[in-house]
Structures are given as C-alpha cells and as structure tokens.
C-alpha cells in the first residue's frame, strides 16, 4: 500500500516534535518556586541562624548556584567556600570575619579574590534582595565553615548601622 505523501510528512513532523518532547522528559525535572518570604524569630539561637543561613544559601540567596563547598578539583568559576571562615579572618587587614563577609555580601566588588573575575551580585538588592537579618543568618552559616558562629541577629557591622571595619580596634581619637 502506498502511503500518501502528505500523511508521511505529517507523521515525520509529529514524530520529530514528539522525539524532542521526549528528550525534554528525559532530563532532570525541577520546578523552581519563587523564594518564599522568610519570617525570622528575633530570638533565634546561633545554631538556628546557621541552619536558616544554609537554607537561604541554597534557595533565595542562590549562593550555591555559583559557589561550591568542598570541591577538591577545578575548574572553579567562583571561590570554593570550604574553610572560608579561616581565610575571612586574615583576608583583609583590620577586618574580622564578620566584616569581611558583610563587605562581600553588601559590596561584593570591593575586594575580588585573586584568580577570579568580579561577578558577585549585591545581595541586599534585587533580584536576590536578602534582608539584613537574612544576611546575618548567611554569615552565621559561613562562620561554621572553618570556624564558630559568633554573630547574633543583633550584631552590627558597617552595613547595618555598626562601626566601619577596624574602628572598634583603634583607640578613640585624642587618646594616647
């Protein structure tokens, strides 16, 4: 039986389209929901803050889209975060780890880790737009990577009304 040409063409079009739709079903399927509004209790413990911080990094903050934690072989697009707290304490003179993390999140282009390109977005502005409290939670988690959490939800730094880095360590003006 001779199959009409138009039927053959129709079958080809449907089969080709169907094949690509099938390929689309074969790759990992993930539905990405808009970030949920996070309500933080004012009395979160440091351990709870670190836990929330990790969740923010994985979700709303999009941090782990670029950064890895504990990747041992390259290539690295952005710095790996394993033991980052150890490096944060000594990365910039006069900066504590909290100062360094805060600057990295609020003004990411102020200091670029050697060997990498600028590219980190300002985290407290859209499209990511974390709140000051959420950023403190992220810092709490980052401190656990090679150190211990010291921040609380009341911690002040240069970007939420606190002193500039190094200011606390320096003697007051006029003192001898």
């Amino acid at each position: 039986m001779k199959i009409p040409i138009m039927l053959r063409i129709a079958v080809l079009v449907v089969a080709t389209t169907g094949f690509y739709a099938y390929v689309g079903q074969m790759v990992p399927q993930k539905e990405v929901q808009p970030p949920a509004e996070i309500v933080l209790k004012s009395d979160l413990s440091q351990a709870e803050m670190a836990k929330v911080g990790r969740e923010i990094m994985d979700g709303k903050g999009l941090c782990l889209t670029c950064h890895t934690i504990g990747k041992t072989t390259g290539p690295y697009r952005f710095p790996d975060l394993a033991n980052v707290d150890v490096r944060a304490k000594t990365r910039k003179p006069g900066y504590t780890d909290v100062d360094y993390f805060a600057e990295s999140l609020y003004e990411p282009n102020a200091f670029i880790v050697p060997g990498f390109n600028p590219g980190m977005p300002t985290i407290n502005k859209p499209p990511i737009g974390l709140t000051d409290q959420e950023i403190l939670c992220v810092i709490a988690y980052l401190q656990t990577l090679g150190g211990t959490t010291t921040v609380t939800l009341q911690t002040k730094h240069a970007f939420n009304g606190g002193p500039a880095p190094g200011a606390a360590a320096q003697p007051p003006a006029g003192a001898k």
């Binding site: 079009v13 808009p34 999009l62 290539p75």
Partner: protein, 625 residues
C-alpha cells in the same frame, strides 16, 4: 446418532428458538421505536413558551430569598470602588501557557516574514546581476509565501496584544508607559511594511528591476526596524536600564538600548534567516515530493537546495552571536547568567545540544546526498566518512552533561555527580571546542559540495589546495589546543580563550572561501549538475531540518523569557501571579512541541493557499496571473 442427524436436530432446535424469540424481539423493537419517537416529539416539537398569569407570580419563600440575594449582590457591587485587576486567569491552560503559545506563534510567523524578503532580495540581486531569469523566478516564488504569512503575523500580533492587556493588565500598562514613545513609530512602520510587501509582491515584473529592488530593500529595512523596536521591549524585561530601582522611567533611550538589545537584534536577524531558509526549503521539499514531471522536480530540488543553503549559511555564525548574547547577559548580571548556564536552565542546553547536533548531522547528510546530483563525484565522497566521524564525535562531546542523573549509590561510586572521565567533557572548554570543530567540519562539507563536478584549472591549483588544507588543519589543532589549555589555567584566563577559538574559525572560513573562489575560477567541468536527481529521502531531511529549527527557536525563546524566573522586569517588577514559578523542562518542552505542531498546521495552510496560485481555474482553464 450420526453427525448428519445430529446436525438436523440442532437446526430444528434453532428454528424453534427463533419462532419463540422472533415475536418477543419484534415487540421490544416496537416499544423502542415508540419510546424514541415520543422522546423526540416531547423534546423537539415546537411549544409556546410558558408564561404564567400575572396573578400567579411565584411568591414562595425560596423565590423571595433569591430576589433578596440578587438585590444585595447588586448593592454590594455598586458600593465596591473600582480597582484595576493585576492579573486575570485564562481558562484550562492558565495565563502563562496561553501567552506563551500566542507569543511563540507570532514570533515564528514574524521571523518567517522578516527572513523571506531578505533572501528573496539577495536572490533577485543575483538574478539581476547574472541576467539569469531562473533566480528572478525563484525569488518571486519565495515571496509567494509572504502575503498569507504577513496576515497571520499581524493577526497573532493583535491576539498577543489583547491577551497581554486582558491577562497581565497592570504589567502591560507599565511596559506601555515606559515605551510609549515607541508605539506610534511601530504602527507607522507596520503601514510601510504592508506597503512595501504588497508592492514588492504584486509589482513583480511591473517596474524597472532597480525600482523593484529598491522596494525589496525598503521592505527589508522597515522589517528589520520593526523587529528592533519589538526587541527593545522584550530585552528591557530581561536587562532593564533607564529606570530607577522602583521602576520609574529615567531615560527611554537607555531603556531601548539596554545591554542585551543589540546582541538580540543580531542574533534574531541571523536566526530568522536560518529559520526562514529552512521553512522555504521545506516548502520546496513538499512541492518536490508532489511533483509529477522532471522539470518540476528539478526546479523544486534547486529551490530546496537554495533554501537549505541559506539556512545553513546563516546557522554557522549563529553560535558566535549566541556567545555574544550570553556574554552580555553575564555582564549585566552574573546571577542571570548563572541561572541560565548553571542553574535552573542548565539542562536545557543539553536539549539544545541534541537539536543542534541533529541539525548539523541532517544538513551534512543532505549535502552528501546532494553530491549524487553531480557526475564524477566519487573522488570526493571518500572524505564523507571522516567528516561524519568528526561531527558525531563533536556532537557527543557537546551533549555530555557536566553532572549526570544518577542514583545515590552511583553518585557514591563515581565520587560525585560528575563522571570521573566524562565529567571533563561537560565543561565549557570541551563544549566550545566541540562546537567550533563542528562548524569547521560542516564548512568543509559545503566546500566539498561546491567542488563536485569541477577540477581547478589554475596554475597554482596544487599549492592552493595545500594552503587550504593547512589552514583547516592548523585551525583545528589551534582550537583543540586552546580547549585543552583551558583545563590548566585559572577562570580569568579560561573565559577569554573562547574568543581566539571563534576568531580562528571565522578567519579560516573566510580565508579558505576566498582562496576557493580564485582557485575554481575557470575550473574544468567533469560533470553536469542534474537537478532533481536526488533520492526522495533528501526532501524528508529538509522537512526534518525545518521542524528542528522551529523547535529550537521555541526552546531558545523559552529560555530567553523564562530566565527572568519570578520577575516581569528582572530585579524591578516582581511577578506575583500564580504562574510566577519556573516549570519543569518536561512541561516547557511539551508546550514548545504543541506550539510547533500548531505552527506547522498553520504553515501547511500557507503552503496550500500558495499552491492555489498555480492550480487551473475552475473549469480547467489555467490562470494567466
């Protein structure tokens, strides 16, 4: 009892049963007929409408309650102040899918309507320069597809506008307020487009050739300007500029020339040509398969070849334009770039690799089949197996994902989500190298096809061949070297390596073509091209290419738009509708597939209407027009 008497007894038994059951069955059928007839009479016969006498108005407590409820609802409606709706819902499929399908269909037809005049104009110019009327006829035949497509484009454009106003009124209002100075020029250009298009088509052969070419040029300029205005609206949504953090307009011009505007203009310009060429090639393929004479087959084989040639020629530089666009997206926002390549959409690019790999394979296969048209082609056909090997290898590298779908135990066994060996092929160093070699190999296929039936007759022929081969080999080695080198350097260096890779391939393509033009000037012919002498499967390959191109456009349209995720205007105007989430790739590809099928249903309609032009008039008289 014998078998015969047994059979007779059985037959008598059946007859008795029939005598008993026959009247019963008859009664049942009669009852059924009466029942059906009475149902029809009761339900469908005309009856005067029932009007109760005024004195017997229903005053039951239920009726009174319903009247009171209605009055209360009306009172509440009147008391509620007017509020502008932010979103409305489209039934069944939802607002996003409805807008998505309509926008995609509008864009596919618009791409076709913009692309066909471009290559029709170029073919007409070739015809004018060479005085070969075949080119003029071919250009005219391409433009036959335009008028119906133009109407469909405009219809879908209006449909899209209404859908936006109905389903996303607040956001559409915002977009219109930002770009208000662009809408009237857009409408004006549309008038010009209609004027040029219909004058170009209906004025074929009616004006001096240069005047007609001027109309074609005008059509292309206006069409491109329309595309660029529309591109400003959509690229602004992805990479907004010229507005404050809360969306207030600071500069309309900055909003227009936002960071991704020009890369999208260039990318779409090239992609439209590739897409238009492939659809025109599919039209020729359908006509070839339906052809009844050798002349028709020869004509449509040539037309299909030209359509495919246009498509693939435009397709080769397309990845470079794509890289530029991706670079600008990264430069505008690393987050946006990484969402695209490393986040929610990263697997989409594996699907893209499958599509592009198929396109390259199909395009090369068509070229190799086409070599059979030319006598004396055998010496060149031996190279095909090497080209096929190279293309397949590149395809495999390109389609290798960086991380692999695996069970927990498999991930443990591999030591991570990346395969210990294949994982190295899933990074950009390998993929960039693969795509550049793929382009270079397909270019060589073109070159081989160009040479079929010819032998270079210039004195420096041998040197020319050696130089061409050396450029090709040196470029391939250089591209592979940079790809491998990328594994041993820091990110800052590695990112920049794609530029020399792209430039070296472009340089090789341009220099080899330039040498080829001079090399084959006055070449000795070893065989004639026999148009129409090509296996029918080649025509199905052309249709496959057109479907794949269309699907690819649908997929990449999705990633461009979906990349904003839960933002109408990225980082400025948040999407708060129920469709603000990013769907799975399986869902997205299903929507793309349905849209592509709808497009081909409509394009079949365009082909059919176009074919009416050549049909005999009613009564058997062939039209003179």
């Amino acid at each position: 009892m014998s078998i015969v008497t047994d059979g007779v007894a059985k037959g008598a038994g059946v007859r008795k049963l029939g005598i008993v059951l026959g009247p019963v069955l008859g009664l049942v059928m009669f009852a059924a007929v009466v029942w059906v007839a009475s149902r029809f009479v009761n339900e469908y016969e005309y009856k005067d409408a029932y009007r109760p006498p005024a004195a017997s108005v229903d005053v039951t407590p239920r009726a009174a309650g319903e009247a009171a409820e209605a009055a209360e609802a009306e009172k509440q409606a009147k008391a509620t102040p007017y509020a502008e709706a932010e979103y409305r819902t489209f039934p069944i499929v939802g607002s996003r899918v409805a807008i998505w399908a309509v926008a995609q269909l509008h864009l596919l037809f618009a791409a076709f309507v913009l692309a066909v005049p471009m290559f029709a104009f170029i073919i007409e110019v070739i015809g004018y320069k060479t005085k070969d009327v075949r080119y003029d006829r071919l250009a005219h035949e391409f433009t036959k597809l335009l008028s119906v497509s133009f109407s469909l484009t405009a219809t879908f454009g209006a449909f899209l506008t209404f859908m936006l106003i109905i389903l996303y009124p607040k956001f559409t209002n915002y977009l219109m307020s930002v770009f208000s100075p662009t809408f009237l020029p857009y409408v004006l250009l549309f008038f010009f487009e209609a004027f040029f298009l219909y004058t170009y088509y209906y004025g074929w052969g009616k004006f001096h050739p240069l005047v007609h070419l001027g109309l074609g040029l005008g059509l292309n300029l206006v069409g491109t300007s329309i595309m660029m205005i529309a591109n400003a609206w959509l690229t602004f949504m992805m990479s907004p500029k010229g507005i404050s953090d809360n969306g207030a307009v600071l500069s309309v011009w900055d909003a227009i020339v936002n960071p991704t505007w020009m890369p999208i203009n260039v990318h779409r310009f090239i992609a439209n040509i590739a897409f238009g060429g492939s659809v025109a090639g599919a039209y020729a393929a359908v006509k070839f398969l339906q052809a009844t004479t050798d002349e028709e087959r020869a004509h449509y084989d040539w037309m299909g070849y030209i359509g495919n040639f246009v498509a693939i020629s435009a397709f080769l530089p397309l990845p470079f334009a794509g890289y530029w666009l991706a670079k600008e997206i990264y430069a505008f926002s690393q987050t946006l770039g990484l969402t695209m390549m490393g986040g929610a959409f990263s697997w989409l690019f594996i699907i893209q690799a499958v599509l592009i790999g198929n396109l390259f394979l199909a395009a090369n296969y068509y070229l190799w089949l086409g070599m059979g048209r030319v006598e004396g082609v055998q010496p060149l056909q031996k190279f095909i197996k090497y080209l096929l090997f190279g293309i397949t290898l590149c395809f495999m590298v390109w389609a290798t994902p960086h991380s692999i779908i695996a069970t927990v135990s498999e991930i443990r066994a591999m030591g991570g989500s990346s395969h210990p060996i294949l994982g190295y092929l899933g990074v950009m160093s390998a993929k960039n190298t693969a795509v550049n070699i793929l382009i270079l190999t397909t270019f060589m296929s073109f070159l081989l096809y160009r040479r079929t039936g010819k032998i270079a007759a210039v004195a420096w022929a041998k040197t020319g061949h050696v130089v061409q081969l050396t450029i090709f080999a040196a470029t391939a080695v250089f591209v592979i070297f940079l790809g491998v080198y990328g594994y041993f350097v820091e990110t800052t260096v590695r990112i920049k390596l794609s530029v020399p890779q792209v430039l070296s391939v472009l340089t090789a393509m341009i220099s080899i073509t330039a040498i080829d033009v001079f090399l084959f000037r006055g070449a000795k012919k070893t065989g004639e091209v026999r148009w129409g002498r090509i296996p029918p499967i080649s025509q199905y390959v052309l249709i496959f290419i057109a479907v794949t191109f269309t699907w690819l456009m649908g997929l990449m349209g999705y990633v461009r738009s979906g990349l904003r995720q839960h933002w109408h205007v990225y980082g400025v105007i948040r999407d708060r509708s129920v469709d603000a989430f990013t769907p799975t790739l399986g869902f997205a590809t299903t929507v793309v597939s349905v849209t592509v099928l709808l497009f081909f249903l409509l394009i079949a309609f365009v082909f059919w209407i176009t074919s009416l032009h050549d049909r005999p008039n009613y009564g058997g008289v062939r039209s003179e027009h």
